[in-house]
Amino acid sequence: MSQSPEQQAARRAYWRANVRLIILLLSVWAIVSYGCGILFVEQLNQFQIGHLPLGFWFAQQGSIYVFVILIFIYAWQMDRLDHRYGVDE
């Protein structure tokens, strides 16, 4: 595997951008499920969404919607990143 220093630097930059995106999305993942759904569920339950307590709604509905959106954003952003760094298949 012979790589020029530029290629190596580009790879490192690609990987750093990927890891940054993962950290950002996983923070949202943790805040929504563990934060809103479990740790602060009592506080959030003082509010209502429709007729459901908000914390309960996060634990049984909201988190799951957010999970789906998070994976969508990751797949979509990685398509762009792959293309920008010329590593798309």
Partner: protein, 597 residues
């Protein structure tokens, strides 16, 4: 058609419809199995890497959602209220981890199995063997429950003994799994997903419409006041509010169980291996999205169904006069199955629901309807599975919908069983036999060995399905705990930390596994080994056996990272391997100008 109609009159509508649906879907599965028969090991183990993202998503969803998700989860949630969220969060949140942290890189790595990755990344045959044995153990415990589920569904709806139901299921799975390997399994799973989701949604939509006038369960769950009324009703009857958090488990335990289930889901070999079948890394990412979207459809409906069905049950039965109850068709038909029963203990001519067991248990732990429990004022027993099974009748749907639910339950159980059997087969045939005993085997022999091992796995799973070891239900905690404490940390660090080496990974896996296995076995020893009481108390901050995989996982991470830093870094070619799995396409494309960025 007239033959079918006659049959319907002769043996009762539901049974004839069930027979027709099951026969129709099974013929379809067999046809697909025949059409996708394979000759090379690439086709047999990873479907020739030709599965489009959306199809792999549907197959993953069917692979993942078992008879338990389909039949039991809504009932469990309706019994646990807020605390049931552990399953909803745990069994969906894991897909975010899978999509972001594991699937794309394992797809880039290629090969056929998870032990392939562990063995090569940690340049260690022992690690490969440990990984293969873990994969076999996890999958075998899991598949036994599926075969049992198949037998029970057949038994209930076709009125054959459970063992005959298991054997029918074995023959069907054998046909498409042996002929088509992963390719046959994949395309039948796509169809099975369609069957199971339609079967789950129709009754849920009907019940939602009946109780709230709004057919979208996710919408009416929040928009209607059913759950509010359920809260009030529960308090009236002496239960805690349905939405009250931490009624049965502590906050720490809920956190740990949710984490263990999420990480365990991401580490389950039969789920991971589905992402080896996509044509590209990009397709692996997108198929994770489709998979969770398809799973979320059922997982966001289930809690709404749970709440509606519980409200309906309490509202219909509580304080109802005995004579009125005798007139209620669905109550009587489910009473005949033994999944629901009541006894007017206080002789007031009405039936009351209260906390506690309505009946004493017999020696097998099942309620004995001849012996009402004098210690509780509760007069009604309901099996949790009834929440899904009885919904069509409660909602007043035509009898054929019940047949559809039975077909969906079978699809859920069979699709999961097939995926698990392939993991068992590939672990024995590919990771152990071919790798160690017969590495020069030609293609034809590799596929033949894979086929033979699927047969062995089916017979073993069928045996455990017919003679379930008493601890099967407990063992599910094992499967997730062990996957969380072994595979997840080792694969994750293998990709994201180049410095992680053989010594770190092996000691991390051993300590994570031992800690988790001993804790679960000690806390569940009464169920697993039949000791008088649990040999161990939940000494680790009161965390239950279901949640201890979270601690085992963290322990594995810490040990792996520390030991790796104290020992020599992995060899250069392994570091290059890590570099290459991080990039979808190995050689950069200078004409895009990307390489110089």
């Amino acid at each position: 058609m007239s033959g079918l109609a006659l049959l319907a009159e002769a043996v009762g509508e539901t049974r004839a419809f069930t027979f027709a649906f099951v026969t129709l879907t099974f013929l379809l599965y067999l046809y697909i199995g025949w059409r996708s028969r394979v000759r090379e090991s690439g086709g047999f183990y990873v479907a020739g890497r030709g599965v489009p993202a959306i199809a792999n998503g549907a197959a993953t969803a069917a692979d993942w959602m078992s008879a338990a998700s389909f039949l039991s989860m809504a009932g469990l949630i309706s019994f646990m209220g807020y605390d049931g969220s552990i399953y909803l969060l745990g069994w969906t949140g894991g897909y975010v981890l899978l999509a972001l942290l594991l699937a794309p890189y394992l797809r880039k790595f290629g090969q056929y199995t998870v032990p392939d990755f562990v063995g090569q990344r940690y340049y260690c045959e022992t690690a490969r063997v440990v990984a293969a044995i873990c994969a076999i153990f996890i999958s075998l415990t899991y598949v036994a429950g599926q075969m049992r589920g198949v037998g029970i569904v057949f038994g209930r709806f076709l009125e054959v003994p459970v063992w005959q139901g298991v054997v029918i299921g074995m023959v069907i799975v054998a046909f498409f799994a042996v002929l088509g390997g992963m390719k046959g399994i994949t395309w039948t799973q796509v169809v099975q997903y369609s069957v199971l989701i339609v079967a789950f949604m129709i009754p849920a939509v009907a019940l939602s419409n009946l109780l709230t006038g709004n057919p979208v369960p996710q919408w009416s769950f929040a928009a209607s006041d059913i759950t509010q009324k359920l809260n009030a009703l529960q308090v009236d009857l002496g239960f805690t509010e349905y939405t009250r958090p931490f009624a049965g488990k502590t906050k720490l335990d809920i956190l740990c169980i949710t984490f263990a289930l999420m990480v365990g889901t991401a580490g389950l070999p039969h789920v991971i291996v589905r992402f080896y079948t996509t044509p590209t890394v990009r397709a692996a990412r997108w198929s994770a999205f489709w998979a969770l979207l398809f799973i979320a459809l059922l997982y966001t409906t289930a809690p709404a169904l749970a709440s509606f069905a519980r409200y309906n049950l309490l509202d219909t039965i509580h304080n109802r006069q005995l004579a009125e109850l005798e007139q209620l068709q669905w109550v009587q038909s489910w009473r005949a199955t033994g999944l629901l029963d009541y006894a007017d203990k206080n002789g007031d001519g009405r039936i009351q629901i209260a906390p506690g067991d309505a009946f004493l248990n017999d020696a097998a732990g099942k309620p004995d309807f001849a012996r009402p429990n004098p210690a509780s004022s509760n007069e009604v027993y309901t099996d949790r599975d009834i929440m899904v099974l009885a919904t069509p009748e409660v909602a007043g749907l035509a009898p054929w919908v019940i047949a559809l639910v039975a077909t969906g339950g079978l699809a859920a159980a069979l699709s999961t069983a097939a995926g698990l059997l392939l993991v068992i087969s590939s672990s024995i045939a590919h990771d152990l036999y071919i790798h160690f005993v017969d590495p020069d085997a030609p293609e034809a022999r590799r596929v033949a060995i894979g086929r033979a091992m699927i047969c062995v796995a089916i017979v073993a799973a069928g045996y455990f399905g017919i003679n379930p070891p008493g601890f099967v239900a407990q063992v599910v905690a094992f499967a997730f705990g062990l996957a969380a404490a072994s595979f997840f940390p080792v694969i994750l660090l293998g990709i994201f930390d180049k410095r992680t080496n053989r010594a770190g990974a092996v000691s991390g896996m051993i300590i994570g596994l031992l800690f988790t296995a001993i804790y679960i076995a000690g806390n569940k020893s009464d169920k697993i080994f039949g000791t008088d009481g649990p040999l161990m108390s939940p000494w680790c901050f009161g965390i239950s056996a279901e949640g201890i995989g979270a601690i085992g996982c963290l322990l594995n991470f810490v040990v792996t990272i520390v030991v790796s830093r104290l020992t020599a870094p992995p060899p250069a070619e392994v570091q290059e391997l890590v570099e290459s799995v991080r990039v979808p396409r190995s050689e950069g494309r200078p004409e895009h100008g990307g390489a110089t960025l």
